[in-house]
Homo-oligomer: 196 residues x 2
C-alpha cells in the first residue's frame, strides 16, 4: 500500500515556498504519495487571534533571513524577499481547491509560488492567476468560473475543517494520519514518520 503524506498549505504563506518547491523530490524516492491539500489558514489564524506576526517587522525580517539560509542549503532558488502579503481575496486558494479536486494541484502550486517568489507576481492577483493558468495550458475562464462556484467553497470548507480537526495552525503542515508536523524544517521528520 502506498504511504501517504497530507500536505496542508496556504497560498499566502511565505513559509510554504520551500516545501512547495521541494516536497515532490523529497517524497518520490521514498515511495510516498503527497496529497496536496490547500486550506484556508487565514480563517484559522483569525479564529485563534494569531495574526499579529504579519504586522511584526522584526519577526518578518528574521523569517526572510531564515528562508534565505535554508533555500541556499536546500538548493532551492531564492532571490530575496517576495512581495507580502499575498492572495488577498483567496483567489489562488480557490483555484488551488479546483486543481486539487482535479489532480493538477502540484503543478499549479509550484507555478504559483515560483511566479510569486522568482518573478514577483504576487500569488492570487487575478492577472497572475491567469498567467499561471496560461503557463499550464489550462482554460482560465472556465477554471475561474469553477473557482467561484458554491461547490468549490464547500470543498474548501471541508479541507479547512479537516485541518482544524487535526490541530493545524500554520502553513506548511504535514500530516501522517493524525500526527502533524509544522514547518518546512519538519518535512524530513514527517517523511521519516510516514516511512516507518
Amino acid at each position: 500500500m502506498a504511504r501517504t503524506l497530507d500536505f496542508f498549505f496556504f497560498y499566502g504563506s511565505i513559509h510554504a515556498y520551500l516545501s512547495v518547491m521541494r516536497i515532490a523530490a523529497v517524497a518520490a524516492p521514498r515511495g510516498i504519495e503527497i496529497r496536496w491539500r490547500p486550506f484556508n489558514l487565514r480563517a484559522i489564524l483569525i479564529e485563534q487571534n494569531n495574526t499579529a506576526f504579519a504586522r511584526n517587522p522584526v519577526r518578518l525580517a528574521y523569517n526572510w533571513r531564515d528562508i534565505a539560509r535554508r533555500a541556499a542549503r536546500l538548493g532551492v532558488a531564492f532571490t530575496g524577499p517576495a512581495p507580502y502579503p499575498a492572495d488577498p481575496d483567496l483567489l489562488a486558494l480557490r483555484v488551488g481547491t479546483v486543481a486539487a479536486h482535479e489532480g493538477w494541484c502540484d503543478a499549479y502550486t509550484r507555478a504559483t509560488f515560483a511566479a510569486w517568489f522568482l518573478d514577483r507576481r504576487v500569488a492570487g492577483l487575478p492577472e497572475n492567476v491567469e498567467h499561471v493558468l496560461a503557463e499550464l495550458k489550462r482554460p482560465a475562464a472556465d477554471i475561474l468560473a469553477r473557482a467561484a462556484a458554491p461547490e468549490t467553497a464547500d470543498r474548501l470548507a471541508v479541507e479547512t475543517d479537516a485541518a482544524r480537526a487535526l490541530g493545524i495552525f500554520g502553513s506548511p503542515t504535514f500530516a501522517v494520519g493524525s500526527e502533524i508536523f509544522w514547518g518546512d524544517d519538519r518535512l524530513d521528520d514527517a517523511i521519516a514518520f510516514a516511512s516507518s
Copy 2:
C-alpha cells in the same frame, strides 16, 4: 581565538528546555564558547503584541508534541508537558542575571529547567529558586538580595536591549555576531555558522 556563541534565553520559555540541556555538549567538541545571556523576552513580546500564542491551546498542544518528539530523538530526558506558564515574577530571570554576571549561569539554568521539567518545580517560584540554589550550594539569602538590587535590574535591561538590537523576538535564540538563529531546531545551524 575561541569562537563564541551567544545563547539568549528566557526562563519562562518551554522552548528553551532542549537547548539548555544540550548546548554545552553540542558546543564543547567544536571548541565553541557559550555565553549564557538571559533576557526579558516577556517585555519584547509585549512590545511586539506577540503574546496570543500563550493563550492558544491548539498551538501549545502542538508545541508539547514537537518537544516530546525532539527530546526523544536528541536523547534529552522528557516526562511530558511541564507546568506552564512559569517565572511569573521574573525571579528565575533576575537570579539568572546574577548568575551570568558571576559565571555560574550554565549550572543554575540547567538545574532550574531540570527542576521545572523533570520534578515539576515551576521555574521562578521562590521556594523552587531556593531549592535550586541549595542544590548548587549557593547562599540563597545573599543571592536573592543581589537579584533584587538595582544593579541587577540594570544588567538585565542591558541584556534585553542587546537582544532587542539584534532583532530577537523569541527564546531560545543563538547569535553569532549579528547573525541570529531562533529555536532549538536551529542550534546546529548556529554552531556550524560559528565554526565557519
